[in-house]
């Protein structure tokens, strides 16, 4: 075999492997859509489960996931943005900053189930919030911090240095510069980060197992101190804990969860692309 033949062969092999890696994603999504689309109906989406969850819909779980996603946004947003501003605008190149960055890397690396344990120990038991939407949102919020911080920091750093220089030279203070010049330009990027983080949080199961998720609730939660059902946990329950569960309902639930999570990811991606295109500098 000549070098040229080896070259051609290697390139074909690499392409094939890449296809093998990427194409299953399309297959996975189509497979869930194909098997689950049949049960999607008004009734499936907007009524509660019946007959030991073997009939009826997923409304309490869907609504619970919406509540938790909002709760996560409220819990993560302020701290994440402030941390991103600190890293992008204030932090010097010193040991402390390196420690903060190491902490963020490690926050991103902590297993989700360990967040669940922390949420149980700290929020549910120590702060005595009980298994509740607040406890679950705080746990998910902490878990989401690293994603939001790093995307928000990137967005802030992408604002050209000249904007700051000009603002400062006109006599604005550093905070005024950040508030009126840097933040508005970085806002779309920051929002992208938040939505990406929420997409992750909405699909997580392990952190909510012991902090908020309920196996089955006859009623919707009345306050943020109540438990709630949630889609990911509901999928786990009906696929492994309920014998004789119709497969179609399981696929339907998986499909709705997939749609919720992927639509959030899609919104974030579209926002980012549009933002990059519109950028003038």
């Amino acid at each position: 075999m000549t070098r040229q033949q080896t070259n051609r062969l290697a390139k074909i092999a690499i392409s094939l492997v890449a296809a093998l890696v990427v194409l299953p994603t399309v297959f996975v999504i189509l497979y869930v859509v194909y098997n689950g689309i049949g049960v999607i109906s008004w009734e499936f989406l907007f009524t509660a489960p019946r007959s030991g969850m073997r009939e009826g819909g997923i409304w309490p779980a869907l609504l619970g996931t919406v509540f938790l996603t909002f709760g996560t946004a409220i819990a993560a947003f302020p701290l994440a943005i402030a941390t991103a501003i600190y890293l992008a605008e204030y932090a010097g190149d010193n040991r402390l900053t390196r420690w903060v960055r190491l902490a963020i890397v490690n926050l991103a690396g902590i297993p989700s189930i360990v967040y669940g344990l922390f949420g149980l120990g700290a929020f549910v038991l120590f702060l005595n919030l009980g298994t509740s939407i607040v406890a679950g949102s705080l746990t998910l919020g902490l878990m989401t911090l690293p994603v939001v911080i790093s995307t928000a920091e990137e967005a802030l750093l992408a604002v050209p240095q000249e904007f700051r220089t000009v603002s400062l030279s006109l006599g604005a203070t550093r905070w005024q510069t950040i508030r009126h010049q840097v933040l508005p330009h970085a806002l779309p990027g920051i929002i992208t980060g938040i939505i990406l983080g929420l997409g992750r949080a909405a699909g997580e199961t392990a952190p909510i197992l012991f902090t908020v998720a309920a196996f089955y609730l006859p009623e919707l939660p009345r306050s943020i101190f109540d438990q709630t059902m949630a889609l990911p946990y509901h999928l786990y329950v009906i696929s492994t804990q309920v014998p004789g569960m119709p497969l179609s309902l399981q696929y339907g639930t998986a499909l709705v969860l997939l749609l919720v999570v992927l639509s959030l990811t899609l919104v974030a991606t579209v926002l980012r692309t549009r933002m990059r295109r519109r950028r003038q500098w």
Partner: protein
């Protein structure tokens, strides 16, 4: 660079030009922002502290011999962590062995071979994969993949191998994106020089670009391990959850195992708060925390080291 220069020159300028009233309100805002930045360190500490608070008693109340034993059977007060460690290790090693070569090759394709339109199509697809919730993949593993594994000849479909397959698939986005960054960081001059002396594209990729990117590939592997070892739901659904050390004789990978993460997730719902079993589960949490902390710190040290090396080369 610009940022540090700015940081150095700013405070002096500010002190001279800003009116004091405006300055004092700002002082508070800046303190809050600084506090937020430092709070990340505080949060890591807090997480560890709460794990210790709930889990440390287990290390005192359970004898070391019991903890190092080969059986995890809480009803008989047997808390051997070994089968769970072996379970996590098997699944993780399996996943990394599958995912690193596939991820690296995909990164090579994306970075070195694929035309632009394919890259723009494939990269969002990989992001979509990263976004699929682990419970959905676990569910598919449970209803679709496990029966296939059983048909292929394993005694049951729920095995370490099934878990490794799902985990490998889940770690691919991490491994691909970091490998891709590593390949991208290899200077274009290396490729040009190699091609100019008559090497083919494949020779250039395999003998020049990949070796030059090896530190980044090591980082991708390390982070892949970190990602795989902490995964919970998908693993819990497809590995069969048998807390035994699989015997070597009959093919370790094709037996059910139970990981550390799955043990916590499966048992925490049923234990009384403060019981020995409860504390033992938190003790597993401590082990997991320390493992992932070590892995991620190692990776970020490697990243820092790599950067310095690169800049000193250029």
């Amino acid at each position: 660079m610009l940022k540090t220069e700015q940081a150095a020159s700013l405070p002096a300028a500010q002190a001279e030009t800003t009116p004091s009233r405006r300055h004092s309100g700002e002082w508070w805002i800046e303190q809050i922002i600084r506090g937020a930045g430092l709070s990340t360190i505080f949060i890591i500490g807090l997480i560890f502290l709460f794990l210790l608070r709930e889990g440390l008693p287990a290390f005192v109340r359970i004898s070391p011999l019991n903890l190092l034993g080969v059986r995890w059977y809480p009803i008989e007060e047997l808390y051997g962590l070994l089968p769970l460690l072996v379970g996590s290790l098997l699944v993780t090693v399996g996943a990394v062995v599958i995912a690193v070569p596939l991820g690296l090759i995909t990164a090579i394709y994306l970075g070195e071979i694929a035309p632009l339109w394919q890259r723009e199509l494939l990269k969002p697809l990989i992001e979509v994969l990263a976004g699929i919730p682990s419970i959905v993949l676990g569910f598919l593993g449970w209803v679709a993949l496990a029966p296939l594994v059983q048909q292929a000849g394993a005694p049951t479909g729920l095995t370490a191998f099934t878990g490794a397959l799902i985990l490998a698939y889940m770690s691919l986005p991490t491994i691909i994106s970091i490998s891709e960054d590593a390949l991208y960081a290899v200077p274009k001059e290396y490729r040009d020089a190699s091609l100019a002396i008559g090497a083919t594209e494949w020779q250039t990729i395999w003998r020049v670009v990949v070796p030059a990117a090896r530190s980044g590939i090591v980082i991708a592997t390390v982070l892949g391990i970190g990602r795989a070892i902490g995964e919970t739901m998908a693993v819990m659904m497809v590995t069969g959850n048998a807390a035994n050390i699989p015997s070597l004789a009959t093919g370790m990978f094709f037996q059910p195992v139970r990981t550390m993460t799955a043990t916590i997730a499966a048992e925490m719902g049923e234990v009384a708060q403060g019981s020995l079993h409860y504390q033992a589960l938190f003790a597993i949490g401590i082990v997991l925390f320390l493992l992932t902390f070590a892995i991620n710190s190692l990776a970020s040290m490697l990243i820092g080291g790599g950067k310095q090396q690169r800049s000193s080369q250029l």
